[in-house]
Structure formats: structure tokens, C-alpha cells
């Protein structure tokens, strides 16, 4: 079996992975860096971020303001030391990206322009038109091309982390084009594999966001943190999960149920007005909007579609002129990808899964408790997002902590020995497993798509916007059953050339693992905080739960849960009265 050797190995070529790769190369140009990615790096999901990236740059704004917005938005579950590092380094990182050529939008005088963003009380969100993530990713990717030390493994799928003597020493990966399975070893490994929105049926996340890195780390023995915190966005298109920005509502769009009724008035969200009013009705807090949707479904007042129940966003009364001048991108998305013209038609919407606050537990340098393993970006949980991420914080997060993890891994890697021989034996075992359980497998009965959609169902009804003991237990049982049935999976495709069915099967196995950690963590936290809302335990319980949830994988495959302290530096948990509550919770999840 082939083995290749590097000093630092990145799993993932999205924003976090590429930033980390450059950090390694700049820390020590003599190190060899590998970037392993299941898609060409510029196809990574970072490409679809639209809104922007927060970083204090204008006078009148302060680092403390950004920190406070982040911490209160996160319902006091953020580690405040991490947030302080984050807000301080975010502007530097965004500037560095400017120096690398990112086409940030500008003020007339040539300085960086910033815009307002939900949950941020000052204007501090940098943007590159409405394609911030796209420009950020392509700038990073094109910049990495100039570093000779970076070796890319494009369209290689990582199936396992190699751990020996308590230290991560590399990965086993499958080259899609050739079907070759080999070990890629390194002195340190950084996971930058992004989130796991695809565990749920309705999501803004691309098809590649299947939580691979979370499952890989968990199976290798590293704990996951705060997995119960999954963020919804209230208005996504049901089938594609394409996100319809809050702007559609701030311009005056109505949310109506199947009777054409502006149902939000029934949920303490104010009274309907013709013109939009801040914090009223359609402009109420996002989590409350998502929760109202669930209640409407329960009352049978939603519209049934092939993709389940929806409500409608009505923009028609705004007229062609306003829609074209103020919401051109919304119209374009509806027209181009959903065949709906918002000037004439209602837009079907529903809450969709958007972002994963939890992830592989790391310290402020991206290091996990497992020696040799680092994580950065959406896959990681430092945590600066706490119980609820603030919109436009995740792009700067992946830059700041991608750079930190890259630097730390580079420095640590220099001191380490090359991998032991046992690692090669482990890799061979993994290769055999892939051949026996998938490639060479005949006669299974379960279709991948069936198990996947039953998993979706279980996650949505058990661990969705509202959860409780019963619903979560049911989901846990269902996931256990599905993992059992997964062993009897049917594989139509036995080819070695670009076997996407094999990839889908492996992704499904990762999703089943990650889904279980979400459900187990949600069962464990018997309080409601931020994105985690339990109907059987309403309200925040700081006495017992001002703490992170850690979930570990026992050697027998079962899960073990623990708490870890939240770092509080200067902002004690706030007492929240309603007005403030609505304020802190109205975070833009873009």
C-alpha cells in the first residue's frame, strides 16, 4: 500500500483549510503541507456565503462592542477569552485578505465599506457585493497556488484518522478518480471539513456538508462540544434550501399561512402593519419566527407540498419596481433556481437548518485534546458561537482560527517523530474494510436514499426547532435502528472509477454518527438556551447549564457525556427581560 508523508495535513479546502495551509507555509516554508479535499477546493461550501464578514474597522466601533454582541447573541455560552482573541484578530485577517486581492466593496474614498447586519449593533460587516464567501474562497485558493510547499489532493475522500500511541499521525483517503486507497501521513492533522447541515432534511447547506470531520474526530477519540446547538434560518426555499434573506422581510414582505393570514400576530409578535416595523411581526426575532412555523403546522394551517408543509412569503404587494431595485438577488434566486417569480407568485418558505454551532472541541489554537489533531472552521467548536452564532461571524472565525491552527500545527509538527510502522498496518485494515463492506459488497437490501430520508425524518421531528425528552428519545432509537440497517446497505456501484455511491454511503455513515451526537447532547441539556429549545425545560438554567456539553465515544461505540466550564472574562451572564431578549436573539443567520 502506498504511503505519502507530509509535515502538516489539512482535511478540507474550504476557507478554514486554505487559510490554515497558508499559515503553515508562512510559519515555516520548509514544511510540506498537504490539502486533502473531497471536492476541488474552490467548490467548497464557503463559496455560497453571501452576506459578509464582521470585523471592527470603522471609528465609533470598538472590539468590546463586537465581543459583547457576539457573547450576548450566543446566550452567554461563548468562551469569552476566545471571543476576545477573535474580535481582535478578525480585522487583521480581513485586511490580510485584502492584501491578497479580495475584491471587498469600497466606500467612495477607496476605504473598505461595511454594512449593517442583524445582531451586530454597529456597522462592521465587510462584504464583497452579495458574494462574499465566493470572493473570499477564490482569493484564498488562488493565493495558495503561489506556495510551492502546498501539495493538493483534489477529490480525495478521507475515510479515517490514523491514531497510534495516542497521537494522530495521518489519514486514510480514497482518490475518487482512480479508486486508489492510501495512507497520507503527517506529524499533525487539521480538520477543516465544515458543518453537517445535511443531517437534516431542509438546509441551506450544500450536498457536501455531511459532518465527516466531526465523525472522524469522534471515532478517533476526540470529544465533540455543544452539538445540541443547531441554527435554523426562518425563511429558506423548501426544496432547494436556498436562503431568502431577511431583507425580503425588511422591505415589507408578509409571511402568510394557507388562509392568507399573517399568522405571526397570533404568537406575541405584534400586530400587522402595512409598512415594516423593526422587531414587529415579520421582523421579529428569528428563532421566534421559526417556532411560530412549528405551531402553525400543528394547527394544520400550513400548505402541503411534495416537500412537506410550507408557509408563504408574499412580496407581490411591493410591486415590480421595489422588488427589482431593492431585492434583485432574491428575485434572481427564485427565478433561476426555483422557477418562481416573486412579482407574481407567492414564495413557499419554511425554516431551514443553516449552521452548526457545535463541533470538534478545540482550544484557542485549534488544538483538540487528542495529540496531533487540530480543527478549525465550522467543524470546530472553540467556542465563539456559544448557543447561537451571530450572522457574519463565521467567515472571520474560519480565518482567525484557521490561521491559528495552521501556525500551531506547524510549530508542533516540527518537534514530532515521523509516523510509526503500526500506522501502515492500520491503514491496510481500513482499506480492507472499505473493500469488504462497500466496494466488494453484494446482496444488501437497504437503499442509501431510504436510510438517508428516514434519518432526515428522525432528526427533524425529534431534534428540530423544539425538542423534548420523548421526541429526542424516539430519534435516538430510530438512529440506532438505522445504524443497524446500514450494515445491510445495497451498493449498485462496484467500480473503482469515481464511485460517488461509495462516497454517499460513507457520508451517510458519518451523518448517522453525527446525528446521534446531536440527539444525545440535546437529551443531556435539560434547559432551553439559544438555538436549543426544550418544551419540557423552558428557560435558561445557569446554575446547572452555564457549561459546554462534551460528548466522547467509548471504546464500545457508546457515548459518554460531560460538562466543561465556560470561560467568563468580563461579561457576566445577563439577566434578560423581554425587550433585551428580543434584541439579543435577533441574530442574522447568514
Amino acid at each position: 500500500m502506498d504511503i505519502s508523508y507530509h509535515d502538516v495535513l489539512l482535511v478540507g479546502g474550504g476557507g478554514a483549510g486554505l487559510r490554515a495551509a497558508i499559515a503553515v507555509a508562512e510559519t515555516n516554508p520548509n514544511l510540506s503541507v498537504a490539502v486533502v479535499s473531497k471536492v476541488y477546493p474552490m467548490r467548497s461550501h464557503t463559496v455560497s456565503a453571501e452576506g459578509g464578514a464582521a470585523g471592527v474597522i470603522k471609528s465609533g466601533d470598538t472590539l468590546d462592542d463586537h465581543a459583547y454582541d457576539t457573547i450576548s447573541g450566543g446566550d452567554w455560552l461563548c468562551d469569552q477569552d476566545a471571543v476576545e482573541i477573535f474580535v481582535k484578530e478578525a480585522p487583521e485577517e480581513l485586511l490580510r485578505l485584502e492584501h491578497w486581492g479580495c475584491p471587498w466593496s469600497r466606500d467612495p474614498d477607496g476605504h473598505i465599506a461595511v454594512r449593517a447586519f442583524g445582531g451586530m449593533k454597529k456597522m462592521r460587516t465587510w462584504f464583497a457585493a452579495d458574494k462574499t464567501g465566493f470572493h473570499l474562497l477564490h482569493t484564498l485558493f488562488q493565493t495558495t497556488l503561489k506556495y510551492k510547499a502546498v501539495t493538493r489532493y483534489d477529490e480525495w475522500f478521507v475515510t479515517k484518522l490514523l491514531v497510534d500511541e495516542g497521537r494522530v499521525q495521518g489519514v486514510v483517503a480514497l482518490q475518487l478518480m482512480s479508486g486508489r486507497i492510501q495512507a497520507i501521513t503527517a506529524k499533525s492533522v487539521i480538520l477543516c471539513t465544515g458543518g453537517c447541515g445535511r443531517v437534516f432534511p431542509f438546509t441551506t447547506n450544500a450536498s457536501i456538508k455531511t459532518g465527516d470531520g466531526m465523525a472522524l474526530a469522534f471515532q478517533a477519540g476526540a470529544p465533540l462540544k455543544d452539538m445540541e446547538f443547531v441554527q435554523y434560518h426562518p425563511t429558506g426555499l423548501p426544496f432547494t434550501g436556498i436562503l431568502i434573506t431577511e431583507a425580503a422581510r425588511s422591505e415589507g414582505g408578509y409571511l402568510i399561512n394557507k388562509d392568507g393570514y399573517r399568522y405571526l400576530q397570533d404568537y406575541n409578535l405584534g400586530t400587522p402593519t402595512d409598512k415594516p416595523v423593526l422587531r414587529n411581526m415579520e421582523l421579529g426575532p428569528r428563532d421566534r419566527l421559526s417556532q411560530a412555523f412549528v405551531k402553525e403546522v400543528e394547527k394544520g394551517r400550513t400548505t402541503d407540498t411534495p416537500y412537506g408543509p410550507v408557509v408563504h412569503l408574499d412580496l407581490r404587494h411591493l410591486g415590480e419596481k421595489i422588488i427589482n431595485s431593492r431585492l434583485p438577488f432574491v428575485r434572481e434566486l427564485c427565478l433561476k433556481y426555483e422557477n418562481i417569480d416573486p412579482i407574481k407568485e407567492l414564495i413557499p418558505v419554511r425554516p431551514v437548518i443553516h449552521y452548526m454551532m457545535g463541533g470538534v472541541s478545540t482550544d484557542n489554537n485549534g488544538a483538540t485534546p487528542l495529540t496531533g489533531l487540530y480543527a478549525a472552521g465550522e467543524v470546530a467548536c472553540v467556542s465563539i458561537n456559544g448557543a447561537n452564532r451571530l450572522g457574519s461571524n463565521s467567515l472571520p472565525e474560519l480565518l482567525v482560527f484557521g490561521a491559528r491552527a495552521g501556525k500551531a500545527a506547524a510549530l508542533a509538527g516540527m518537534e514530532q517523530k515521523p509516523p510509526s510502522e503500526r500506522v501502515a498496518a492500520q491503514a491496510l485494515d481500513e482499506k480492507r474494510r472499505l473493500e469488504e463492506q462497500f466496494l466488494g459488497k453484494t446482496g444488501g437490501r437497504e437503499r442509501i436514499a431510504t436510510i438517508r430520508s428516514e434519518m432526515h425524518q428522525a432528526m427533524e421531528s425529534g431534534a428540530g426547532i423544539y425538542r423534548n425528552q420523548t421526541s429526542l428519545q424516539k430519534a435516538a432509537d430510530k438512529l440506532r435502528e438505522l445504524r443497524e440497517r446500514f450494515r445491510d446497505i445495497r451498493i449498485d456501484d462496484h467500480s473503482l472509477t469515481f464511485n460517488t455511491e461509495l462516497v454517499a454511503a460513507l457520508e451517510l455513515s458519518f451523518m448517522l454518527e453525527v446525528g446521534s451526537t446531536i440527539v444525545e447532547s440535546a437529551l443531556y441539556r435539560t434547559e432551553s438556551r439559544g438555538a436549543h429549545q426544550r418544551t419540557d425545560f423552558a428557560g435558561r438554567d445557569d446554575r446547572n447549564f452555564l457549561a459546554h456539553t462534551l460528548i466522547f465515544c467509548n471504546p464500545d461505540g457508546s457515548a459518554r457525556l460531560e460538562q466543561a466550564p465556560v470561560v467568563i472574562t468580563r461579561w457576566p451572564p445577563g439577566e434578560r427581560v423581554y425587550g433585551v431578549k428580543s434584541e439579543v436573539k435577533e441574530v442574522a443567520a447568514r
Binding site: H45, V47, A129, K336, Y337
Partner: protein
């Protein structure tokens, strides 16, 4: 609208088939379904071995380009209903002019090499430290290159380019557009270096301005415009070297 629509999909597995062939599938015809949704339907329900790339389903990752009824298209932005009245199956093939790896998946490593060769990164004679703040750039300066920075590397333009079809060495529309993206950026000082690279590619002079690349580009990058601009500068540079050898570097 009819209830179903037929797709005629090119299948090819190098391990099994000597020759590619077409396979026909009937899929539901829904108003909001794009060609990619139909392919996913087939993969999930009918034949798990059908092979294609996709990811974002919102026209930004650039991975789902294929030939649909002979035209290069992003399949996530091409509605099935556009073809409902044609009374013949919708033909889906891999992007033209690229080697086929399997079914609808083409080999793009050649493009990746070409992309890298034009040095698509900001080149400065002297870097200023990050602590000194941003390089100023007015909205007008940004507008000069912005269009060329919108390329999602979907490669539809290569599949439309007759020059590339005849001469695979031709560096091609998107790579040239990206070179121009940096050349036109007020912060960049690397145009000469890139010029040296492009100049080695005689292919560029073979471009006859058919402009097919610009027509098929889903992001309005206008690679044909970039090629034209480049040729103009290159011609001037050539004259400079010829007439005033001291002026050019």
C-alpha cells in the same frame, strides 16, 4: 405539463465499456425541478451508479456543468420544463472537449494547471504590512476588473470554445479572464509576469472572436472581452519591444 419527461444520459465506465452509450430514464416533470434534480432522482431511486458532480445547487460552486441538448449548461440552473415541449428526450452529456472519467464526470486537471500558470494572485513589488491598513481602491477601480473576478471555474466556456476544441494546448477563456482580473486590479503590479506566460501560448492568436465563451458564461464574466483586451495590450507590448526595447521590461 406532462407528468414525466425522458432523459437520455450518456453512460461510460472505463472498466466496463469500450464505448460510451446512452441510457434513457423517465423522471417526474416538476415546475421547480432542474436537470440536476432529475439526475439526483435517478441516482436515488433508479440507479445508484449514475455518476456526476454537484454541490451547491445554487449556481455558485461551479461543479455541475454538462451538455444539455448540445449546449453547455449549469445543470442546477436549467429547468426541465424548458424542454417539456420538445417531444424528445433531453440529452445530457459530459462537458465537450474534456476527457471523460466516467458518465458525466470530466477530467479538469489540465484547467487547474493552466489556472495556476497565469499566476492568479496579487503580485506586488513591495508588500505593505497589514498593520498599515488596506490598499485604497475606489469603486471605479474595482469596477474595472470586477466582472472578470466573477468566474466560478465552471468551464462552460471551454466546452463552447472552438479554438480549445481544435487545440487543447490553448490556455482558454477562463484562465485568460482570470489573468486579466489581476492585470486590471489597481493593487496589482504583475501584469508583465503574466504577459510572459500568456505570450508563450500562440493559441490566443487563433481566437477568432466568435464570442461563444461569453454567450454561454452563466456569470457574465465576458471572457471574450478579456481575450480582446489582452490581445490589444500584447500587440502594443510587442511593438514597444520592437520599437523601443528600453521601454519594455
Amino acid at each position: 405539463m406532462a407528468e414525466t419527461i425522458s432523459l437520455e444520459v450518456l453512460r461510460y465506465s472505463p472498466e466496463r465499456d469500450a464505448e460510451p452509450s446512452f441510457q434513457t430514464y423517465d423522471v417526474p416533470l416538476r415546475k421547480d425541478w432542474v436537470v440536476l434534480d432529475a439526475l439526483n432522482y435517478i441516482k436515488d431511486k433508479v440507479d445508484g451508479s449514475l455518476t456526476f458532480r454537484w454541490s451547491c445547487r445554487m449556481g455558485i460552486c461551479g461543479s455541475c456543468g454538462m451538455m444539455v441538448n448540445g449546449e453547455p449548461k449549469l445543470t442546477c440552473a436549467t429547468f426541465l420544463s424548458n424542454y417539456a415541449n420538445e417531444n424528445k428526450p433531453v440529452r445530457v452529456q459530459p462537458l465537450r472537449y474534456f476527457p471523460v472519467i466516467r458518465d458525466l464526470v470530466v477530467e479538469v486537471t489540465d484547467f487547474m494547471t493552466k489556472l495556476q500558470s497565469v499566476k492568479p494572485w496579487l503580485i506586488r513589488e513591495k508588500e505593505k504590512p497589514v498593520s498599515d491598513g488596506e490598499y485604497l481602491q475606489t469603486p471605479d477601480q474595482l469596477d474595472r476588473y470586477k466582472q472578470f473576478s466573477m468566474c466560478i471555474n465552471c468551464l462552460l466556456c471551454y466546452a463552447a470554445c472552438p479554438v480549445y476544441g481544435l487545440d487543447p494546448v490553448f490556455i482558454g477563456p477562463a484562465a485568460i479572464a482570470l489573468a486579466q482580473r489581476y492585470n486590471m486590479d489597481s493593487r496589482d503590479e504583475g501584469a508583465h509576469e503574466r504577459m510572459d506566460v500568456l505570450a508563450q501560448h500562440e493559441g490566443i492568436w487563433g481566437c477568432t472572436f466568435v464570442g461563444e465563451c461569453t454567450k454561454v458564461c452563466p456569470k457574465h464574466v465576458d471572457p471574450a472581452g478579456a481575450i480582446q483586451q489582452y490581445k490589444l495590450t500584447a500587440t502594443i507590448e510587442r511593438f514597444k519591444t520592437f520599437l523601443m526595447p528600453w521601454a519594455a521590461r
